[in-house]
């Protein structure tokens, strides 16, 4: 609780806001600016709950939140679980590796089974892009995408946005230079962040080895007519990308990329693109350093950078709980078919 003078200005008045209308959260591309704003403001309230002696409210009491991850994860899965429990939901955790999936059960059958077992909100991660969209077609409740293939990781993008708004002076991303550095091509985190950051008006730069930017330069649109035209910059020149940056987000380099011949070696990546104190010196002196985790320290990011005060990587994790609480709460209020267009 705050240590402010009890007599001074304790009163907060909230403004009215639009109603939330999405039944599922599959990606951030369907969210309008005022809806993202509603998520951020609801997350503020959730952060207030996290600061309480008893960080639990009964908002989702009696709701069944089933978490099923076909891919490994620590922070996203646990973050969703903590978020659901803070809202008093009943949480069922299924690891696909120990479920009937290993016996050949299809995605749709699994969805129908968990629904028959009482799941009302389904949090899922799947290695195949688009899997949550298929799930949403067969599930009567709410689907939250915890990451699908290379496609989308909407809760990560929203918690990244929340962390930037919280930590940037003035609380606005508009006009700020945000650099995403690393393996953009295989990153669902980058893809969802592209939507939310360009919508927030960031000067977005995507930087990495050209083999890991394939196609994005075209999507980023040197030519008019491409969806991302003029909205972000794609480059392999790391010094140009970092110059005067307000936010630098490093992405994990997956070791399996070596096998596909996209990188000569991890050492070469680190030498040319690793986020070191020297390279970061080109950015603004108070530039935020972010990483969605898990990190390979010493590969894409130097441990000395992680140790900086302005490395907000742990803030991202904490804020992730608040943002996921906000999303669970908002989605839970949308019933029946009214949000069905989301799945289309």
């Amino acid at each position: 609780m705050s240590d402010r003078d009890p007599g001074a200005e304790p009163i907060v008045v909230g403004a009215d806001a639009p109603a939330w209308r999405h039944r599922h959260l599959l990606d951030v591309d369907v969210l309008a600016a005022d809806e993202i704003d509603l998520v951020m403001r609801t997350a503020d309230a959730m952060k207030g709950i996290l600061a309480r002696p008893i960080a639990k409210v009964p908002a989702l009491r009696g709701r069944n939140v089933t978490i099923i991850f076909w891919e490994a994860s620590t922070r996203t899965r646990v973050s969703f679980e903590v978020a659901a429990k803070n809202l008093s939901a009943d949480v069922v955790n299924i690891a696909a590796s120990t479920s009937s999936v290993t016996k050949g059960e299809s995605l749709v059958d699994t969805i129908r089974t968990v629904q028959a077992l009482g799941a009302q909100m389904l949090v899922m991660r799947h290695g195949t892009s688009g899997a949550p969209y298929l799930a949403a077609e067969h599930f009567d409740g709410h689907v939250l995408n915890g990451g699908d293939g290379w496609h989308a990781h909407p809760t990560q993008a929203l918690l990244d946005l929340y962390t930037m708004r919280e930590r940037l002076p003035g609380g606005s991303i508009a006009g700020r230079k945000v650099v995403i550095l690393g393996d953009i091509l295989h990153s669902r985190v980058a893809r969802s962040n592209i939507w939310s950051l360009t919508a927030a008006g960031a000067d977005l730069w995507l930087c990495g080895p050209s083999t890991l930017l394939r196609g994005l330069d075209r999507w980023g649109g040197r030519a008019a007519g491409f969806p991302g035209h003029g909205r972000f910059t794609v480059t392999s020149d790391v010094d140009a990308a970092l110059r005067d940056a307000d936010v630098v987000m490093a992405l994990r380099i997956q070791k399996e990329r070596m096998d596909s011949g996209l990188l000569p070696s991890l050492r070469e990546y680190t030498a040319r693109f690793g986020l070191t104190l020297d390279r970061l010196a080109a950015a603004k002196p108070d530039a935020l350093v972010m990483h969605p985790g898990p990190m390979n320290e010493g590969v894409e990011i130097d441990p000395a950078v992680v140790a900086l005060d302005r490395a907000v990587i742990e803030d991202q994790v904490t804020n992730g709980v608040a943002v996921r609480m906000a999303l669970l709460y908002l989605l839970a209020g949308v019933h029946g078919a009214e949000g069905a267009h989301d799945a289309a």
Binding site: I11, G14, A19, T42, Y329
Partner: protein
């Protein structure tokens, strides 16, 4: 956060004081109201309640005021001002958002917008006076008590309301009432406060079907 006076005047009124639990349903409109308290009467009632609160406690020791979002919040602030004027002691005042504690969250069409809780004091051992504009079913107060208990263990919880309109659905009563107003269930009691609505006053309006 400070908003200019009347900043919310042109916004649609929240479903609010006929609930959170008595939302105006779509397809219904509100007829012109009948004013039952003027700005002066609201002021006098506030001053009287401020005296009553101190009298009941036999002083200001161990008292705190907590307003329920939204219109209870400025009312709690005014009670704190009045007590400061009369007694020379400024009581701690806070704001409580009961949204997450509502008993009808699974029934409403859209999640209500969260307006924020701000309790900048430790309420363990304090006598907390909960302040709201209208007491109706009692469900809001039930939610407020649950919310307060999550912040600690107050010595006592009391209730001050500007208007008690009857129709309780829970065994709850107010300790301090500005005005008792007999109403029927198809009426709406609208409390206006200057900080939010640009003027003070209380009106009764009747719900009518919009397309009769």
């Amino acid at each position: 956060m400070e908003y200019p006076r009347g900043a919310f005047k042109d916004r649609p009124r929240e479903a609010g004081k006929e609930g959170p639990h008595r939302a105006t349903r779509a397809g219904q409109a509100v007829s012109d109201g009948r004013r039952i308290m003027t700005a002066d009467e609201v002021r006098r009632a506030t001053v009287r309640i401020a005296h009553e609160i101190v009298e009941k406690q036999a002083g200001t020791e161990g008292l705190a005021l907590v307003g329920i979002q939204r219109r209870g919040v400025p009312l709690a602030r005014r009670l704190a001002d009045a007590i400061a004027e009369n007694e020379g002691v400024r009581l701690p005042a806070g704001a409580l958002d009961i949204t997450f504690y509502r008993d009808d969250l699974s029934l409403v069409a859209h999640q209500p917008v969260v307006k924020g809780t701000d309790l900048p004091f430790d309420l363990n051992g304090l006598t907390v006076v909960v302040v709201d504009d209208v007491l109706y079913t009692g469900r809001t107060i039930r939610a407020a008590m649950d919310a307060l208990m999550d912040f600690g263990r107050p010595r006592a919880i009391r209730l001050a309301v500007l208007v008690d309109r009857g129709h309780r659905e829970l065994p709850i009563r107010a300790d301090h009432v500005g005005k008792n107003v007999p109403t029927s269930r198809d009426e709406i009691v609208k409390v206006l406060v200057e900080e939010i609505d640009g003027e003070d006053g209380v009106a009764i309006e009747r719900l009518v079907a919009a397309h009769l």
